[in-house]
Symmetry: C2
Subunit: 189 residues, 2 copies
Amino acid sequence: MKDELEKCFEFILEVEKLKAVQRRVKPLGLDRYENSAEHSWQAALMALVLAKFGNESVNVERVVKMMLVHDIGEIDADDVFFFDETGRLDAKEKELAAMKRIFGILPEEKAAELFALWDEFENGTSTEAKFARAIDRVMPVLQNLYNNKQSWTENGVTKEQILTKTAYIGDGSAILWEMIAAKIEKAFE
Amino acid sequence: MKDELEKCFEFILEVEKLKAVQRRVKPLGLDRYENSAEHSWQAALMALVLAKFGNESVNVERVVKMMLVHDIGEIDADDVFFFDETGRLDAKEKELAAMKRIFGILPEEKAAELFALWDEFENGTSTEAKFARAIDRVMPVLQNLYNNKQSWTENGVTKEQILTKTAYIGDGSAILWEMIAAKIEKAFE
């Protein structure tokens, strides 16, 4: 038991590093970039709040757990800007290796559970994975919409890119995508 | 449906402010103080990882949800140092008012659900509340143990204070408290 607990401590101290991974968005009202740890919290909370708007009935607890682990691979792979397609392909392999390394710190059973959650989020086609990916994508869009398009402007992202590349939000929640797409249109008027 | 979604957006943008609430602990390897949003993520993840070490069988999903909401009241009440007893009494009322205000932004049913989670964490005696409080308390203790007692040193906290005031970790997990207490003793040798 104590050996297992020591492994859990080691894991939780290792994931401290996610607090140092910088994203492209600034939290509303703050003059600094967001980190992936605080984003993970907000995305998990958002999943809890928006669960009923999924296209299909979702197991919200599984979605919440996915959100807690979905970015941990960035500790080794770093956050790659969503609109950087080449960078994202490279990052995918690095993230897989990172997940194996970091979850590998945990006792075996727990490592397998968390890896399965991450894998489902990353590669899965389940109702929960689609909903989780929609939430993960909606979060920075909302932040941009209410923060003068900060990261879009800083990175020269066009309305067309946003509408095309984030349309998969609708695979998780059609009504959410309908509202968000209208807000994007309006923001670029 | 759209009205409800707008309320959820407003809520999720309001809780952005938790990213600006500063705690007394610095994340390992970073020269800045931790904020309550990233702490909430790590505490939720830790609950997921340590669930099996609870004194009783816990509903881990409910504990995870408690961790996601447990600090939101700090948006209005601010984080009060754990060892500041007078400050914590004052903060309790402020936090209650804050929770009512902030959850009140949400559609009624969801507001009631999140408020109940917070209330259980704050005032409850359920297995889940005891375990959640143990996790919330263990997190900064671990950070201190592996970061040269940073916040304890900066705030002049003694070993006796720590051992007395954090002993309730054992109400959630006896084995966790046994290990942590030994580590605290060792850190002050």
